[in-house]
């Protein structure tokens, strides 16, 4: 009887264990093996040595350096900016009553859309072609500026669209989380502060922000992780050949090494993936330490 119930538990778990074992646990070890096998080749299934050459190669590869640079720029611009905008919008949302639900629903819409499909719309809005300068350039011209090709033009312009689109894509989640965090702050605190005649700006920094700071930190941490893994939004705007567009990201570099025209090098891809993981882990640990320190104070 006892034995049977023991077995039963494992039987129920079996499918999950099989799938996770084959597609998560085994690969987790295997990626480290790959990353130390020098010159591993998919076609011949052979390699010529073991060592840290793959890491050295990746770290010297100009494509990787540029991917690293792009990713860091995206992270540094979009994470703080999107968090601040989301906070402002959520504060606005929580201070109104009529139309609140409608606004909330509209703001969440980008979360459910296919980012590759909508990215194409952003592309045509910003792109300058022989037929048309595009809608955004029309506005720029209207205000007296000169047309810029945001999709195949200068680096800063491409980076601008990139960051703009990324923020557009990540805001729904952040607004949703922050709005529900704001709604959970007990009203009593505000009433008490109002009796004391506290200014609203002080109320924000003394009551609201400390109350929602765990959620803000959660968003910053997940924001960092998400932004470091940026890839499909880039493809949506600039196409699959990100290297030639000069807009590749670390994840893009991994996939390019693995597959596609420049692919077939799982060892380099693995080394790059592990470097990415190390970066993300470091940043996350720093974030956690900062958030712990702040909340203790």
């Amino acid at each position: 009887m006892v034995k049977q119930s023991q077995l039963k538990g494992w039987l129920y778990l079996l499918p999950a264990i099989l799938f996770l074992g084959a597609f998560m646990i085994y690969p987790l070890f295997d990626v480290f093996v790959y990353s130390f096998e020098e010159g591993y080749n998919f076609a011949s299934q052979s390699y010529f040595g073991t060592g840290s050459y793959n890491y050295a190669y990746v770290l010297r590869d100009p494509y990787f350096i540029s991917a690293l640079k792009n990713t860091f720029i995206i992270v540094i611009i979009t994470v703080p900016l999107s968090t601040i905008i989301a906070l402002l919008i959520s504060l606005g949302l929580s201070s109104i009553k009529p139309l609140k639900d409608l606004f909330q629903t509209i703001y969440f819409l980008p979360y459910v859309t296919n980012t590759l499909a909508v990215g194409l719309v952003f592309m045509i809005l910003f792109k300058k072609t022989a037929y048309s300068d595009g809608l955004i350039n029309m506005f720029i011209n209207f205000f007296g500026g000169k047309s810029v090709d945001f999709i195949t033009g200068p680096y800063w312009a491409k980076m601008f669209v990139m960051c703009f689109y990324t923020i557009w894509v990540v805001l729904p989640f952040k607004i949703l989380i922050l709005t529900s965090a704001l709604a959970s702050v007990p009203k009593v605190y505000y009433s008490a502060a109002e009796v004391d005649g506290t200014r609203s700006i002080d109320m924000f920094f003394k009551i609201t922000l400390p109350m929602i700071s765990p959620m803000v930190f959660y968003l910053i941490i997940t924001g960092f992780i998400g932004a470091f893994k940026a890839y499909s939004d880039e493809v949506a705007l600039f196409g699959t050949d990100l290297n030639s567009a000069g807009m590749n990201t670390i994840v893009g570099y991994i996939y390019d090494m693995l597959y596609g025209n420049s692919g077939g090098y799982p060892s380099y891809a693995s080394a790059a993936a592990i470097i990415l993981f190390a970066i993300v882990l470091t940043i996350t640990v720093i974030n956690l330490m900062v958030s712990r320190k702040t909340s203790i104070r």
């Binding site: 039963k8 538990g9 494992w10 129920y12 499918p15 999950a16 799938f19 996770l20 597609f23 998560m24 646990i25 085994y26 690969p27 990626v31 790959y34 919008i89 606005g92 201070s95 109104i96 509209i106 703001y107 969440f108 819409l109 980008p110 979360y111 459910v112 859309t113 296919n114 590759l116 499909a117 909508v118 194409l120 719309v121 045509i124 809005l125 048309s132 300068d133 029309m138 894509v169 990540v170 989640f173 949703l176 989380i177 529900s180 997940t222 992780i225 893994k229 499909s232 493809v235 196409g239 699959t240 991994i254 996939y255 693995l258 597959y259 799982p266 693995s270 993936a273 990415l276 993981f277």
Partner: protein, 291 residues
């Protein structure tokens, strides 16, 4: 008398300030709503302009003077958009269905059954949540390739039928159901599986529906894995299909037809969202991941 007059004035001024503040807030919120909605409007608008009209507008117009549905016909005939849609639908349904079975059984084992090593395995499962997809996808690509499963639905589906996070979510939900029901059904001689199917699942239906919807959204939008594992357009999902259309579909400049395809791809999820928006937003707020 004098004092109350003064007070009235102050009150009135506070009211005006508040009104101006409110108007400003509404203005800002409306602005952002426009920025969110505009791309959707633009894709619809561009998709009903004819090819000639679209290209003759050096300054794009905000309306379509002679709307046409020809682009939608093009989207389904010039490129295999129907095929992409069918593939995605099939992939989404099978993946979601298989995943539901796998996670329900696992969640039930963790929540209700007693066996040695349960806590250890559960902790291990939770630890797996921290593993980024990028780290395991390389080996998965090699595995699927060596099993000769590239360009098959099996290869597309297999790696995405488990989710530790959903197991965790469901387990918490199962564990919240009162023990009495379980013991009562035990007394009645109900088997564990029957109890799971007849009692637990109906009670936890809201959570299961949330999980289904979130998984469907994830499947419909998945891009990276399908891109690695398929290079025949017969097996493309919509994300890969739209990328293919962009790179060598209608010819580079046929943007109206491209936008028609974009609309067709976006509509199913938008409809799903309009029906279930409360549920989706609750689900994501209660522990979804970033978009």
């Amino acid at each position: 008398m004098y004092e109350s007059d003064e007070l009235n004035k102050i009150g009135q001024r506070a009211k005006t300030v508040k009104r101006i503040k409110n108007a400003f807030i509404y203005f800002c919120l409306a602005m952002w709503a426009v920025i969110v909605l505009f791309p959707f409007y633009w894709m619809l608008l561009s998709s009903i302009k004819s090819y000639a009209t679209y290209n003759s507008e050096f300054v794009p117009k905000f309306y379509a003077s002679s709307p046409t549905l020809a682009n939608y016909a093009d989207a389904f005939t010039a490129v295999p958009l129907g095929r992409y849609l069918f593939n995605t639908l099939f992939f989404t349904l099978v993946t979601t269905a298989v995943m539901l079975v796998v996670i329900t059984l696992a969640a039930f084992a963790f929540a209700r059954l007693d066996f040695k090593g349960k806590d250890l395995v559960f902790t291990l499962f939770l630890a797996l949540m921290m593993i980024p997809n990028e780290l395991v996808i390389i080996t998965n690509f090699a595995t699927i390739t060596s099993l000769n499963l590239r360009n098959t639905f099996t290869g597309l589906i297999l790696p995405s039928v488990t989710s530790v996070f959903y197991i965790y979510l469901l387990k918490e939900n199962f564990a919240g159901v009162s023990d009495d029901l379980y013991y009562a059904s035990k007394v009645d001689g109900t088997s564990d599986l029957r109890y799971l199917l007849k009692v637990l699942i109906p009670i936890c239906r809201p959570t299961m529906i949330t999980i289904i919807i979130l998984k469907v959204i994830e499947c419909w939008n998945s891009f990276v894995w399908p891109r690695l594992i398929t290079d025949k357009s017969d097996y493309f999902l919509v994300s890969n299909g739209i990328q293919e259309i962009r790179e060598n579909g209608f010819g580079r400049e046929n943007i109206p037809a491209m936008m028609a395809a974009v609309v067709v791809i976006s509509v199913p999820l938008i409809v799903l969202f309009l029906i279930f928006h409360k549920k989706i937003m609750e689900g994501v707020a209660s522990g979804g991941t970033k978009g």
